[in-house]
């Protein structure tokens, strides 16, 4: 059995240690599947042209929190590109592979791309959904994933909460009432953003889907697009999707140069173009977004909630705000 394991390990190891080709692993979250497929191909072409080294970027996708946990438990990522800074903070605090100052290593808080949260409704918007308050109205079914298991769902929740808080001049009372009303209206709480989209689009459940702008654009351009409509709320959240090179792992694999080049590439003009194509918003100045992107005023997690650590503790930890409003035994 031992011999068998060793031979298997060798088999698995062979994929990595070749000199002319370098393999790195990018551990990412759900809605970026199509984005990184194209980015990886573009990066490999560019890097081969520059250095003559062939790079293969392997991809792993899943819920942002689940992916962070996998990295903590030993998934050998060279680069992580997750939905929210909290998950990369968790990697920094719970494993030795990353230092706590990771967000200062790359431009703009190590955030190359951002997105926001919008609504998708049925054709003709029969329930007249226009803004966050409408989601809490009786008789409206809202599809959003579980904030405990999905990074996107945390943005959904915080977007609703923050919008009400801002309207009330900082008072949290209306915000609490709003999220309580919204989650009372949720008939299916999927574990990930993609699951929610499938529930709404394919299964025909619910009146409004709260989701990533990129995923909304994807389904509107898809097979069922003609049956759906985009609704933009008056205000939404700025979803910043950070990236980091895992020092511990790249040292071990000897892939630092490639991994650093890879994250730098994410800020390049080429990468920004690809991001726009897939419905993501490159950060920084000089981005001209095409017509299909929504125009919406956004607030950031740091500005509205004092950072992810605070938001997590106040809203998503065990027995925190979300648990209090969602549990009705």
């Amino acid at each position: 059995m031992r011999a068998l394991l060793v031979s298997l390990l060798l088999l698995a190891g062979c994929a990595k240690g070749d000199a002319k080709t370098v393999t790195i692993l990018n551990v990412s979250f759900d809605p970026t599947r199509e984005l990184y497929e194209e980015l990886n191909a573009a990066f490999s072409r560019e890097y081969a042209a520059k250095t003559g080294v062939t790079v293969t970027v392997n991809q792993s996708h899943g819920g942002s929190g689940k992916q962070a946990r996998a990295v903590i438990d030993g998934l050998e990522a060279d680069v992580v590109t997750l939905a929210l800074a909290y998950d990369i903070d968790a990697i920094a605090s719970k494993s030795k592979a990353l230092k706590a100052d990771w967000s200062q290593r790359l431009p703009r808080g190590s955030v190359p791309f951002s997105s926001t949260i919008v609504f998708v409704v049925r054709k003709g918007n029969p329930k007249g959904i226009a803004d966050w308050e409408d989601l809490a109205k009786p008789g409206v079914q809202v599809i959003t994933p579980n904030p405990k298991t999905s990074g996107g769902a945390r943005y959904n929740y915080l977007a609703a909460y923050g919008s009400a808080q801002r309207k009330a001049g900082g008072d949290e009372g209306p915000a609490k009432a709003l999220v309580k009303g919204i989650y009372t209206n949720v008939p299916v709480l999927d574990t990930g953003a993609r699951g929610s989209t499938t529930t709404f689009v394919e299964r025909g459940i619910g009146d409004v889907l709260v989701t990533w702008e990129s995923d909304a654009l994807l389904v509107l351009a898809g097979r069922q697009g003609a049956e759906l409509e985009l609704v933009v709320p008056s205000v939404s959240i700025l979803a910043e999707m950070p990236v980091a090179v895992l020092d511990g792992n790249v040292e071990k694999h000897g892939t630092r140069a490639v991994a650093e080049a890879y994250v730098q590439f994410l800020y390049s003009e080429a990468a920004r173009g690809i991001a726009v194509k897939h419905g993501f918003r490159p950060t920084g100045d000089g981005v001209v977004l095409p017509e299909r992107f929504v125009k919406v005023e956004t607030f950031g997690v740091d500005a509205q909630f004092g950072g992810w650590a605070k938001a997590q503790a106040a809203h998503f930890d065990d027995k925190a705000q979300f648990d209090q409003l969602a549990v009705k035994p």
Binding site: A12, N58, S60, H61, G74, L75, K94
Partner: protein, 274 residues
């Protein structure tokens, strides 16, 4: 013939029972299977073919087969040993042992995966040791194999055990007193008598090994083209809104399951014939 009639139900009762059984199976078994194939071929056979011969599908097929190829023989050896131990001997703690053998049936696959992550992962008690020797088990193929071994642990033992028990020890004892060695007795006397049950157990074990999702999902790491098994690949395609592709790969798995069951049926016929 008379007596037979007395132990048979009236025709209408028989028909009603058959109809009820078929209706139940149709609702819970046949309709779902048909639905898998209907969705898989929704966009025609060419689309199906391209979905299952895609590079990542092929690597998932390879990994799935490799996993089964390692996990099944391991469980075969274990299952025969456990069945021999429990069927042939009486000793204290036998019921506990039997229950432990059964336990993987009822442990949530997610928990099973979690146990191995906690044990062999970076932060587990063996994490440091494994890392020092550059052994990657969790989030690599070995972890998938271990999780699969766990999930399919009871199958062979559970199939062979009842037969060994019901056959008793007489023939083995006779062989031994006639001077046969222990191994001779096992290979010449015991094994031929349980071979069909053994094969049946192997077939079921194999089927489950190829289809396991929950436990493997926890220990896989989901690296495309490297640590995705077929069931995980189905989920990936599904999450990419490639529903036809997802069901195409699912139909492949269903097909593998059906082939397995076909093999099982042949095994049964051969067993009945001998």
């Amino acid at each position: 013939m008379r007596e037979r009639a007395a132990t048979r139900e009236p025709v209408w009762v028989r028909r009603a029972l058959i109809a009820a059984a078929l209706a139940f199976l149709a609702l819970f078994l046949f309709v779902p299977v048909i639905a898998v194939f209907a969705s898989a071929f929704a966009e025609g056979p060419l689309k199906w073919l391209s979905a299952v011969t895609d590079r990542e599908s092929l690597s998932a097929i390879t990994l799935t087969l490799l996993t089964a190829l390692i996990a099944v023989p391991l469980n075969l050896v274990f299952g025969v040993a456990a069945a021999w131990l429990i069927a042939k001997f009486r000793f204290p703690g036998r019921s506990v042992l039997l229950t432990l053998v059964d336990l993987p049936f009822s442990i949530s696959p997610v928990i099973a995966g979690l146990m191995f992550v906690m044990l062999l992962g970076k932060n587990g008690p063996f994490g440091g040791l494994l890392e020092a020797h550059h052994l990657q088990i969790i989030f690599a193929p070995p972890g998938i194999v271990i999780a699969t071994v766990f999930v399919t642990f009871p199958f062979v033992a559970r199939e062979v055990l009842p037969l060994m028990q019901s056959q008793g020890n007489d023939q083995e004892e006779a062989a031994l007193t006639l001077g046969a060695s222990g191994w001779q007795t096992f290979f010449k006397v015991t094994l031929p008598r349980v071979k069909w049950a053994l094969l049946y157990g192997v077939v079921l074990c194999n089927a489950r090994a190829m289809g396991e999702f929950g436990a493997v999902s926890v220990v896989s790491g989901h690296i495309r083209g490297l640590t995705n098994t077929l069931p995980l690949h189905v989920e990936i395609l599904y999450n990419e809104y490639q529903f036809t592709g997802a069901f195409a790969v699912a139909s492949l798995l269903t097909f593998l399951a059906l082939v397995t069951l076909g093999v099982k049926k042949v095994v049964e016929w051969r067993a009945a014939a001998t």
